[in-house]
Symmetry: C2
Subunit: 488 residues, 2 copies
Amino acid sequence: MSQAGSIAASVPGDRPLIVPVILAGGSGTRLWPLSRSAFPKHLVELVGDSSLLQATAKRMLDVAPAERVVTIAAAGQAILVRRQLAELGSGFLSNLLLEPEPRNTAAAVALAAHQVKARWGGEAIMWVCPSDHLVLDVPALAEAARFGATVAATGRLVTFGIKPSRPETGFGWIAAGPALDIQAADGVHRAYEVERFVEKPPLAEAERMLASGAYLWNSGMFLFSAELLLSELESFEPSLAAAVSDVFATMQTSPDGLPDSIKFSQLLSTPIDKAVMERSRKIAVVPTDPEWSDVGSWRAIYDLLPKDANGNAVQGDGIVEGASNNLIRTEHRLVALAGVSGLAVIETADGILIGDLDDSNAVRGVVGQLVKAGRSQAETHAREHRPWGHFTTIGGGPGFRVREVSVDPGGHLTRQRHIGRDYYWIMVQGVAVAEIERTTRVLAAGHSAEIPRGAVHSVANNGTDLARFVEIAVGDVETDERIERFPD
Amino acid sequence: MSQAGSIAASVPGDRPLIVPVILAGGSGTRLWPLSRSAFPKHLVELVGDSSLLQATAKRMLDVAPAERVVTIAAAGQAILVRRQLAELGSGFLSNLLLEPEPRNTAAAVALAAHQVKARWGGEAIMWVCPSDHLVLDVPALAEAARFGATVAATGRLVTFGIKPSRPETGFGWIAAGPALDIQAADGVHRAYEVERFVEKPPLAEAERMLASGAYLWNSGMFLFSAELLLSELESFEPSLAAAVSDVFATMQTSPDGLPDSIKFSQLLSTPIDKAVMERSRKIAVVPTDPEWSDVGSWRAIYDLLPKDANGNAVQGDGIVEGASNNLIRTEHRLVALAGVSGLAVIETADGILIGDLDDSNAVRGVVGQLVKAGRSQAETHAREHRPWGHFTTIGGGPGFRVREVSVDPGGHLTRQRHIGRDYYWIMVQGVAVAEIERTTRVLAAGHSAEIPRGAVHSVANNGTDLARFVEIAVGDVETDERIERFPD
């Protein structure tokens, strides 16, 4: 442990320095069709106006400034992650690490540990949080984190244990052992030894554990010093530890800050629980009850939402008749339920799910079928995001296609041409600057532009408001093979 | 009975002349969202490639040429009814009667009886058929109709009794009495006295009737001479009989062939069953088993469709995972079912139903809610039909609206202008002739036209193929109040 590290990790009153680490690499197939591999659960506004990632990041501000929050996300989702974090404040972008591909949480946590050690010293306490959980009592969580950091500073790997409320078979459980001699100033929090971890138990065992009162849910949130995590990983998975160390070194010299993708792809793919937590003898658990949900199924979302007198939770344009205990979420169309109960009905622009609220495995099975069939709905949404904004295909038929295109303030589509189709743009909102065959035109709402096949064109939004136009493509609309793109 | 009538109603071999009468005024709220008041069940392609009206009309050709088929339909649906009948042959249009508003079946049947009597004589046997039922064994039905006409020619009001297959509580039942001394040449068909009619029985009674074997379902199909029907109506509902006679007279002198709408609106609204059939002492029933369905609920449709090994009937882009005994019908989007059973899932452009297959009352309740809320989905579809073709609103937002417009060969939109919005048309299929402020332009696929606000414009399709364009309206798109229409 370096002297510099010790100093950086100390704060007035001898409280350890907490560095939040947000794991934002998940997917969440059980929440299809809202969650998709290219637009996973933590980026979706599932409950309320923020995405789960944004809500997680905001929670961190109770214990650290934005500049001290490390986020580790998928490089393929960088545009969306950056946009969502930037909305909360640019500070969140100062420690954003991108993974070329998912390698599970052990590699991600170890990579983050190197970053934390390099910036704040090895004694700094990492507070590892999934990005796709929901917490309603944020002050209670922050208090537990501060107490947990004190425990972690005594040389423990700390896990948060959630007081269980049902015999959940989809979670890991923790058997708490004897109490440790560490106690919060207010006497509320205690830490315990961990007797054992129980991974996804059968229902009978879950019921027994719930009844006994001696078990907690494993929340997936951890606190430990960067140094201790790296040394424990070194003990249990020495080759992974060495490989991550090597990958971290490549990031320091890479021009785009990305790790070497070949080295990264060779990292052992294993969860931090299996690699370290379940094998270490330095584990402690801090029980906490911050009104936590893993938001891992439509049932979990349903439980979080307000309901009508018949137990229906309706988001969007839904009506119910003789129907009870259903979840309706509709974005585009009227959904009517007649005489049914216990359903999750989720309507999106290109796919509708009607599922049993309590059968999230069947939802995973749906995604599996879609993947096998090569269907786009498994991965992307009808609304496609681009660095400059997004577009939605709203109609079409043989020989034509209609899209709504939104260009963000400051966004621009690079120069391109297509030899097989004509384009028509009709501006419906804001102002855009179009360049068509080297002629520049300013398009305001109500203006239109025609781009004959073969014409080189580009468009930019130099204003501060959204620019939106309807694009009709006429001609060869089936393939994008004949698009040529040019540097600006 | 006029002598002329007697002659006209006779055919070689002394078989009575059969005049099919199709009642096409129904609505079918239990089949929402496919069936709507402006586009009712009999006009929808529910099973196979024809609408139920078209399938009914085609069935009639086994006993009469198209020119001898009388159809009575709602004037508000005249465009669609004419188009659908014309597809089968223009002969079907020669006896199309239009009702200004629905007044139930007694008035419709009596009006048709006047038409039949005037054209083919009072002895002609009317074969009254609902337009929204399905029959799989068409030859069996035609045979039963010919036999029924023989029975009707003996001075009976004949009803068809379907052999029941389940304790259906939504139908009327008929208790068959002693056999009549009329028998088909092949000995298969017999006719019976009617002991009594049982209207929509409770389940216990339906089960008892099914078990007894002495009851039949009332199919809603009847055979009687025009003369007898009119005289029985005169006996039981004399004022209705007189009023219909008066209304029929107004039709003969009306330039558009429509009955006087005020007189029509004052007709007693009652079913022919209540007005005549249940009160007459001249009733006979002919049992028949032509694989008939009233197609009156999603369950009835489900029963008619082929199913996969798990009992799922899937029309369109649907996938199922751990789901059984469901009906999926989707027109636009992927629908995925996960772990559910016994559902009707019906997806249309502007409304999605998820209903219990066995709870058609709940579907009616949905429509009731929509009507109460003044929602367009109760009445019209996203695709709106016009005399010249149809259009579908496919997108839009504040200040703009995107439509796909299809103009039929020979169709034309009359001259109009709007002072609050600009239009852009982009031709995507066929050829249209646009007139914009007295300038005529021929638009082929790939051409576009701009119609600034206030410009008088019209469009026509003079070709033989469909003409299709995308229309983007920019400006005041909320109301149609500022449209001025001009004569051509």
